[in-house]
Symmetry: C2
Subunit: 399 residues, 2 copies
């Protein structure tokens, strides 16, 4: 017999499996489903990157652990890539190769947070952030973004939520799920605030390679005097269609990296070595060509997506994304009432077999919205848009 005390020990009670994955799971029960839910590029990993990985396997280089912070060769390449973007980090002491960006995020939060510490995150923001904060015994505090201002950061909204327990401001730029870019001047104000209140800034920049305007992605990690405060994560998953490989990196000051490394070592020992070789392939000149090809495709898909949304102004109202492969339209309500995004998505799936993610998954400000991933293939996008068009021209959802 299991006692009631035993039952209560799990500290994961407050955690949930990502609503994005729950939607995928629900969708998988429908035959002929078209999913624009999960944020996975439709592409296979580029041939050149695969070749580098295969060569590593064949030559016996992938069998054994790497150093816990990653292959020195890869860290040198990462340092060089960062240098080209104006970020100066030493490959020996300031960079850790991680098992995707989420591992870098979780390891950083586990290193920083004491139980009960608060982390400010924008709302809407990638659903897994709140879970990672809870995993580390922290408390996620949502800060609304300004939809009318193009989903921009309103620094005063952050400032007024700071308490003595606040330790970190954690954001995603370009933003998932809104596909928008945070302004440099706003990021600098956040940095001032972090200095004033002695906070860390955790910046996830995995969509930085997919920008469709002339706007600059500004990285606070490029400011030398912020090195001790800024922890930046990147992943090869999105830029190089490598989600399955689980490889990314985290960089910060040597002092911070020393502490994060202890956690990383206890979490995974090292990133998968075959994937580290794939990452070396990705950051070669040959590997980087694929980013441009993907970007060209995403520009086409963004056009398809906005064309579709423009045909249904009674259903969707949206801020045009200038980056990533997400759009986060508002569900147009005929009354004052905000539309329940969960009900909307479930009914849409039921009626059309199209899967979108309910906006509430990304925080309270996300309610009344849905996330559409245009990272999916043009065929899928076309099919999903046709189904929704057909449906909404003749019917409305009960929600």
């Amino acid at each position: 017999m299991i006692s009631p005390i035993f039952m209560s020990v799990f500290r994961t009670g407050k955690m949930t499996v990502s609503p994005i994955k729950l939607m995928e799971l629900e969708a998988s029960k429908h035959s002929k489903v078209v999913s624009l839910a999960q944020g996975i590029p439709s592409f296979d990993t580029p041939e050149y990157i695969k070749k580098v990985a295969i060569d590593a396997i064949m030559s016996g280089k992938s069998a054994k652990y790497s150093l816990t912070n990653g292959l020195p060769e890869l860290r040198e390449i990462v340092a060089e890539e960062l240098r080209k973007e104006g970020m100066h980090y030493h490959y020996q002491s300031e960079i850790i190769v991680t098992c995707g960006s989420i591992e870098g995020i979780t390891a950083s939060l586990l290193a920083i947070l004491n139980p009960g510490d608060e982390v400010l995150i924008p709302s809407p923001v990638y659903a897994s952030y709140a879970q990672a904060i809870k995993l580390a015994h922290g408390v996620p505090v949502f800060v609304p973004l300004d939809e009318e201002g193009g989903w921009s950061v309103k620094v005063e909204e952050f400032e007024k939520r700071i308490t003595p327990r606040t330790r970190v401001i954690f954001y995603c730029n370009p933003s998932n799920p809104t596909g928008t870019i945070f302004k440099k001047e706003d990021l600098l104000l956040l940095a001032d605030m972090a200095k004033k209140h002695d906070l860390f800034l955790l910046s996830d920049e995995v969509y930085k390679d997919f920008v469709y305007t002339n706007e600059e992605i500004f990285a606070l990690a490029s400011i030398p005097e912020l090195k001790d405060r800024v922890i930046r994560v990147f992943s090869f998953s999105k830029a190089f269609a490598m989600t399955g490989w689980r490889v990314g990196f985290v960089h910060s000051s040597a002092k911070n990296i020393t502490e994060i490394l202890k956690i990383h070592d206890s979490m995974v020992t090292c990133a998968p070595v075959v994937s580290q070789y794939a990452a070396i392939g990705a950051f070669s000149e040959e590997g980087k060509k694929s980013i441009q090809e993907f970007k060209t495709a995403y520009i086409r898909r963004l056009k398809m997506t906005t064309t579709f949304l423009n045909t249904l102004p009674d259903v969707f109202s949206y801020v045009k994304p200038n980056a990533s492969y997400f759009v986060f339209p508002k569900l147009v309500s005929k009354s004052e009432k905000i539309i329940n995004s969960q009900d909307f998505c479930m009914e849409l799936l039921e009626k059309t077999s199209v899967a979108l993610v309910p906006g509430v998954a990304f925080g309270p400000t996300g309610e009344g919205h849905v996330r559409i991933s245009f990272g999916r293939s043009e065929k899928d996008l076309q099919e999903a848009f046709e189904r929704m068009n057909l449906f909404f021209r003749h019917f409305t959802l009960s929600s």
Copy 2:
């Protein structure tokens, strides 16, 4: 300026990088070093396993995330392998494919422990356990094993360290670093104790395939009524020479796995997919043949190792290992004083360029011992043993 408060926030202060890795790092500074320190098989991953991984890459199957709990195909194979060993676990709800065994361990501890909860671990035991417990805000409590009794479990030693905060008994069987097997009757007593005090049993069985006697490795996970208490981890790393691939699994009751899955999802999303395919290759008939080949080699290496140790009875006294590829000899002291293992290993490295791991790395009972890994190549073993023989026949260490 960074304030003193900022400096103190890291909760990793009590954590250290594995002493095994520190020894490897120290060793890497010496030219012509021969290391018997880190527990890595000397072999490359078997060709057949590599082929399965390469096929997955080439056919585009490794690009995208798998389900967070792993490829269904792999989980079905794992469930079948477990069934053959008398353990009945459902592939859909009771198994998670992990990023090596350490990820399964850390995810389990993060799911179970509340800050301040205590975990009983044998002493000596694999150095990373205490770190993983600290990462999860737990408190490691060392329980001495009985060296005279062949490094066996003395259940009363566990029992007397139980407090109201004790949540888990966490062990490695066969044992790293001693290379010994825990007796079935002792494990059953531990299980009784776990029932009485409402504890989890976390069992790491990564060396189960390398047993050199007729002794049985008994898994508490084979007892159906313990399913809600026992969490068992396994890794492909040691059995199949796949340490670099980062793939293993954890299994327990559906209730426990549901909670651990939330943590796993937040830590790594999923295990590297290419490595999951390699694991499918490993558990094929062709893949499993390699275990026997490795075992034959390890039997030869164990013989070399004991032959060497027998020539230096004034330096080393040991319990013959019956499993794994470790031996954990005691350093023979000319006085009552226990020899400082850290000083011994550092001086040995200095004088002979042979790297061993100081026993204190594995807990207080490990002091006065060293760990020798005979997973290394016969050439390395021969060279290391010759150097030590030559040295100890003419000199003694100041420690």
